[in-house]
């Protein structure tokens, strides 16, 4: 295979991972504030359906995205109300919503199965940037509006997380809500806000499937992607940059899988979709037990600290716990 051909395949895979990027960044933001939105699978699927139906009815792709965003935020609002205000288990509420919204998408989306609909305008290269060797052809030639919006989102989230006061507060709310509250921050309101923002981004992810990268609607159109997004967030150690990297890596893995499919026809493609989950478990085993520290203790002290920081993926300390204001 010629090198340029390979570049095009990789670039297409990177572009196709865009919906996952949106979902992963959304979930990362929510989890960083201390709330697990386990409904991702259902949210992405229902929003894919709603986005398609709205776009079809209004003949406008962008209104489709608006509709999906609103529904994604609404589902997140149920998560927020049930878990933050009513203090029910985040797992229980999220899990029920994951199943409920998937079934709702299948039931209500039934009349829209396999009909043509509007799609996002075609890909265009970005001038100047596309001429950077390697980076240009990989990232700035095969993308459309959403792909480039994804890059901006990743960068903006990273800057917000680690370079702004708001981001510092966001992380504090997820790590030490009591301390953040004592400093005068409204923990409840902030958790609501970040859960809604995360849900809205998952909604965009859904519409990005049905209006762009997997255009159209069918029964369980985005099956599996929500769970994969949840896995990638852990894989990315709750860091937006690493989560996005995980999403792109998954996209590349998937397209390599279909290449491998033709080489080893005995193994069906479905077997390859298992890969991210096995990887997730391995990453969790490697990074959450105490034996990473034991392994690192054989290294010189100077290397130990930076390696530990690079590898350790501790979840936000208050993740999954309701905030009790005394």
């Amino acid at each position: 295979m010629e090198f340029n051909q390979l570049l095009v395949i990789l670039a297409t895979a990177i572009a196709a991972a865009t919906p996952l990027v949106f979902a992963c960044i959304g979930e990362t933001i929510t989890e960083r504030a201390g709330v697990i939105n386990l409904s991702a699978e259902g949210t992405v699927m229902l929003c894919a359906m709603v986005g398609f139906v709205v776009a079809k009815a209004t003949e406008s792709v962008w209104l489709g995205f608006v509709g999906a965003t609103v529904i994604g935020a609404l589902i997140a609002l149920i998560v927020a109300y049930g878990t933050i205000t009513l203090k029910q288990s985040q797992i229980a509420i999220g899990f029920v919503l994951a199943l409920l919204c998937s079934d709702l998408s299948a039931y209500l989306g039934n009349p829209y199965v396999r009909i043509p609909g509007p799609t996002v305008p075609p890909a265009f290269p970005i001038p100047i940037l596309q001429d950077i060797p390697l980076i240009g052809p990989l990232f700035f030639r095969e993308g459309d509006v959403l792909v480039y919006a994804g890059y901006v989102l990743i960068a903006a989230t990273w800057v917000y997380f680690y370079r702004t006061r708001g981001g510092l507060t966001l992380r504090a709310v997820g790590e030490q809500p009591a301390a953040a509250f004592a400093r005068g921050h409204n923990v409840v309101a902030l958790r609501y806000a970040y859960t809604l923002i995360g849900g809205a981004l998952m909604g965009i992810a859904g519409a990005a499937f049905s209006l762009d990268f997997k255009a159209g609607w069918s029964y369980r159109h985005t099956a599996g992607y929500g769970w994969i997004a949840l896995a990638i967030v852990i894989f990315g150690g709750w860091n937006p940059l690493r989560a996005a990297l995980g999403a792109y890596l998954f996209g590349i893995l998937q397209s390599l899988a279909s290449v491998a499919q033709s080489a080893i026809p005995d193994v069906p493609t479905q077997a390859f979709t298992v890969a991210p989950f096995v990887l997730m478990i391995l990453v969790l085993v490697l990074t959450s037990g105490d034996w990473l520290d034991r392994l690192l203790s054989y290294l010189p002290v100077s290397a130990r600290r930076s390696l530990s920081r690079a590898l350790r993926t501790a979840p936000p300390a208050a993740l999954g716990r309701p905030f009790e204001q005394d």
């Binding site: 049930g82 009513l86 203090k87 409920l100 709702l104 896995a231 005995d266 193994v267 069906p268 298992v274």
Partner: protein
């Protein structure tokens, strides 16, 4: 109480709204679902065939839920149980052989035992990842679900593929001598129903009347405190995974010998997730499992009529189940938050 009833009424209104939104009349839909679930002996048989493994899964999940665990890996435990059962059936009755190496009833019994062992292995794997690897049981379980399905698909397309062409419709069906006997011509098998009821009865007794059940609840309520007070918390958590895996694995084996008579990719038929909904709806109390599981099974079978007669999607059963459980949770939360204020 007021809040719970209120939440229940809201969920009914929303279910009606969803039905109206799809352009159908709720009354017609209720009628079709009722006749779809109980119209003929065959349909009642299918309800019972769904109920039996559901009872097993729900009973198993009572242990993990009471230990404070969300065993989302139950699907994988069913799947791996089914894989283990299929393995034993294939060993004892090799493909193309005219008779099995052991008498068919013994072969079936061994397959069910193998299913239990397979489920236990998969359950303990999630348990070990949680207890020793300090990984959230939710993500360990979800990951293992996909891994089990991956293994099943690999086997169906690889080593166990049908002679001729491999397909997602599953492995070659087993010899009819290895099919579990049924009630008359229906799909329901007495063995599966009895196993389901026994599992549920044992669970009710264990949770109410034994020291083991008490310790399990103690661990679930406050892991740290129960450990400090001398409850062997790790062993308690692992036994919850063990029992849940056992029941789910048996359910998987029953899906193979009783329902599908072969291994298919979605052998669990999402019964594990349905079991989670059932146990959440009854607030982890096993005494209410039987009626709720029966109702949910009837919804599943009844909704299969909708595409044929009304052109609606059969996922309506999932929508109903999901809304009922969601609003039960919200009702519980409302009662906890505002109910107490009224008392004071």
């Amino acid at each position: 109480m007021l809040y719970r009833v209120g939440a229940f009424v809201i969920s009914l209104v929303l279910i009606g709204l969803v039905v109206v939104l799809s352009g159908a009349s709720p009354i017609t839909v209720i009628g079709r679902m009722l006749s779809g679930a109980f119209g003929t002996a065959d349909q009642i048989g299918r309800v019972v065939a769904t109920l039996s493994p559901l009872l097993l899964c729900a009973a198993g999940l009572v242990y993990t839920f009471n230990a404070g665990l969300y065993n989302l890996g139950v699907e994988g435990q069913i799947t791996f149980g089914a894989i283990a059962a299929t393995l034993v059936l294939r060993l004892l009755h090799p493909e193309g052989a005219s008779a099995s190496l052991a008498p068919p009833p013994l072969t079936i019994a061994l397959a069910i035992v193998a299913g239990g062992i397979g489920g236990v292995l998969w359950g303990l794997l999630a348990g070990a990842l949680h207890v020793y690897g300090r990984i959230s049981e939710i993500f360990a379980g979800l990951g293992l679900n996909f891994a089990a399905t991956g293994i099943a698909i690999y086997l169906i397309f690889g080593p166990w593929k049908r002679p001729g062409v491999a397909s997602l419709s599953g492995t070659q069906p087993f010899d009819e001598s290895l099919w579990l006997g049924t009630f008359g011509q229906t799909e329901a098998t007495p063995v599966a129903l009895i196993l389901g009821l026994i599992a549920l009865a044992i669970t009710i007794v264990v949770m109410r009347n034994t020291y083991f059940g008490l310790r399990l609840r103690a661990v679930g309520k406050n892991l740290r405190a129960s450990y400090v007070l001398g409850v062997p918390a790790r062993r308690q958590l692992l036994s919850a995974f063990f029992i849940c895996g056992l029941f789910a694995g048996v359910a998987g084996a029953l899906q193979v010998v009783g329902v599908f008579h072969r291994l298919i990719p979605n052998i669990s038929s999402n019964l594990g997730f349905l079991g989670l909904l059932v146990v959440m709806l009854v607030n982890f109390d096993p005494r209410w499992i039987l009626p709720v599981a029966f109702f949910f099974s009837a919804l599943n079978i009844g909704s299969l009529q909708l595409p044929l007669s009304l052109g609606l999607e059969s996922s309506l059963s999932g929508v109903i189940q999901g809304l009922l459980v969601l609003f039960a949770l919200i009702g519980r939360g409302l009662a906890q938050r505002y109910g107490r204020k009224l008392e004071h």
